[in-house]
């Protein structure tokens, strides 16, 4: 009896949380495929297709708006940010965990604090810096600035990974005549791949999700990202292209949700090594 009660409680709880998470997304997906006459009829049940579903809104998004440009910009910035982030954060994390002594291992929380400095504190002076180097309204302004968020976070995450890895393998490589640098490249980096993969996802997703920098530094359509372009250019004054707006959100969200969902266990593990041991 008690066991049954527990099982019922478990599934009810799970369903409630799932419903809370998914309800706006369901509404988003339904709206995407609705005809205009159906969507704006207040007498209709909003959750049903009272008129046949249509792909028109998705087609409009790709042919009648600049959404493809936004997608391409976000993708390009994402790739560049991943490259910059990894080339700065991986060596730095390894150096802190192995090469510069005790204070390096203990620096996790300091690095994490840099990550916690919110963009709202820095966007005005950064706006000035970007203007001063004539980078406003280009994707390069964002490529330059996003690693300020990804580098601290990824260094912190990788520091945890490197610290939890046994040193013996690298030491064996050193005894075999490898240099430290070779031991890092051939032994430590391959072992840290789950952490590096998490960093890739995080660094790639950040340009997709940031709004404040994208809205501050870029005001021309050709350099807009999805995050800033969709709310500013698909809403024209009082005219909302709701179905296309929802399509725009769905196209980005679903792949990201699957990627994040599959990384769930890795993320939990990442938070187990740090900040617990870094504090």
């Amino acid at each position: 009896m008690k066991g049954l009660l527990r099982r019922v409680g478990f599934w009810v709880g799970l369903l409630l949380f799932a419903l809370f998470a998914v309800f706006p997304v369901v509404w988003m997906l339904i709206s995407t495929f609705k005809q205009t006459g159906d969507l704006y009829n207040a007498g209709n049940n909003p959750f049903l297709f009272n008129l046949p579903p249509t792909l028109e809104n998705v087609t409009f998004l790709f042919t009648g708006t600049h959404y493809p440009v936004f997608l391409w910009n976000s993708f390009l910035i994402g790739v560049l940010v991943v490259v910059i982030t990894l080339s700065l954060a991986v060596p730095a994390a390894y150096s802190l965990s192995r090469l510069v002594g005790r204070w390096g291992e203990r620096s996790g929380i300091a690095i994490f604090l840099v990550y916690l400095i919110p963009p709202t504190l820095l966007f005005i002076p950064l706006f000035q810096l970007i203007s001063a180097i004539n980078a406003s309204n280009t994707i390069w302004s964002l490529v330059l600035v996003y690693p300020t968020i990804t580098v601290p976070f990824c260094t912190w995450l990788l520091l945890g990974f490197f610290k939890s890895m046994p040193r013996e393998m690298e030491e064996a490589a050193l005894i075999d005549g490898c240099s430290r640098w070779q031991a890092f490249l051939r032994v430590a980096m391959p072992m840290a791949w789950p952490g590096i993969a998490t960093c890739v996802v995080f660094a790639f997703a950040l340009p997709l999700s940031d709004y404040i920098y994208a809205a501050s530094f870029v005001s021309s359509t050709s350099a807009r990202t999805v995050s800033a372009g969709v709310p500013t250019e698909l809403i024209r004054g009082d005219v909302y292209y709701w179905q296309s707006l929802m399509a725009a959100a769905a196209i980005v969200t679903i792949p990201l949700a699957i990627a994040y969902g599959l990384l769930f266990g890795k993320l939990v593990k990442g938070f187990q090594t740090e900040p617990a041991s870094g504090v």
Binding site: L14, V25, V100, P125, D210, S227, V252, Q272
Partner: protein
């Protein structure tokens, strides 16, 4: 916590005196690019923010030469929107924090078990976090639309909304058009988007609690809630502090949801500090005043972070 039981291994230099020097040099070389980059693009802008806030700079005249002391701070504080924005920032942050912590503890309790199709439920509950914040805000703008909100429709079907019902004579709630309902909606969106991350962090702490403690409690016949409040919550202490810090900073420092849903309106009744800084500094061109508003957040942020860390330390040392 989890890994503290193992003694920290000796530094590399101690075990390999032969390569100690080279390790130090290589370590410096590997660390330098990241440090230089962060100093140049976080450290320098932070100093610049302070310089800006004490200058008379605008977009038209962006130089920071005109030193005006604390005049910008005084000007900003005397505007009627300032106390409202400060109040809203604090209320929205605290409300989000309390609800998120309770929900995350409950949700992590569910996901600490193994069950069938877990990966599917993980994707479902992580959805809000995967959605870019601005698109989440657009999603919620449409979900709580003044005319076509399906939430209003459900309330009307349940006879909770509409003429002669509990929630009033109007057929719509106008979520973003009222001061307190607007704030509540923004809080709701923040809880929705931050819950997945909070759950993941709490879960990290939850799964490192030794299992035998639970087995022992089961042998002793302790009920679910007794186990939750006597074992799980106390053991989660430090990690809950970390989650609180995360959540508070994410809400307090973000303007996206307000910028897209209420625009701080009606009037400035749902304004928050970061969006006010944006409206002033970028939209309005008053760079120095915008920087002053943004800097108002810094002492609060710093105090919250230091307080959270000290609590985490203390719990750990016990």
């Amino acid at each position: 916590m989890a890994t503290d039981s193992t003694a920290p291994p000796p530094a590399a230099g101690e075990r390999h005196p032969g390569i100690g020097d080279r390790s130090g040099l290589l370590g410096g070389l590997m660390l330098a690019p990241a440090v230089i980059y962060i100093v140049a693009l976080v450290g320098v802008p932070f100093m610049l923010a302070i310089a800006l806030s004490t200058s008379s700079a605008t977009v038209g005249a962006p130089g920071i030469h005109g030193f005006v002391g604390l005049q910008n701070f005084i000007d900003v504080m005397h505007q009627p929107a300032f106390p409202v924005a400060l109040r809203n920032s604090v209320i929205a942050t605290l409300a989000t924090l309390v609800v998120t912590i309770i929900f995350a503890t409950a949700e992590s309790e569910l996901f600490a078990r193994d069950f069938r199709g877990k990966w599917f439920w993980q994707i479902i509950i992580i959805l809000p976090w995967a959605m870019p914040v601005s698109l989440a805000a657009v999603n919620w703008l449409w979900l709580l639309d003044s005319q076509f909100s399906p939430v209003d429709w459900i309330l009307r079907q349940l006879h909770l909304l509409g003429p002669g019902t509990l929630l009033g004579p109007a057929n719509h709630l106008y979520y973003y058009g009222r001061e307190w309902l607007g704030l509540a909606s923004i809080t709701m969106i923040n809880v929705w988007r931050l819950l997945p991350l909070a759950t993941i962090i709490v879960l990290a702490g939850r799964t490192s609690i030794p299992r035998d403690i639970y087995e022992q409690a089961q042998v002793d016949g302790a009920g679910f809630f007794r186990v939750l409040f006597r074992i799980t919550v106390p053991a989660l202490g430090p990690i809950l502090v970390v989650v609180s810090m995360f959540t508070a900073l994410m809400v307090f420092g973000d303007m996206t949801i307000t910028a897209i849903t209420t625009h701080g309106g009606p009037g400035y009744s749902t304004q928050i500090l970061p969006y006010w800084a944006f409206v002033k500094g970028i939209d309005g061109g008053a760079l120095s005043q915008g920087a002053a508003v943004a800097l108002f957040m810094f002492p609060i942020l710093l105090a919250a972070a230091v307080l959270a860390l000290r609590m985490a330390f203390r719990q750990e040392n016990q």
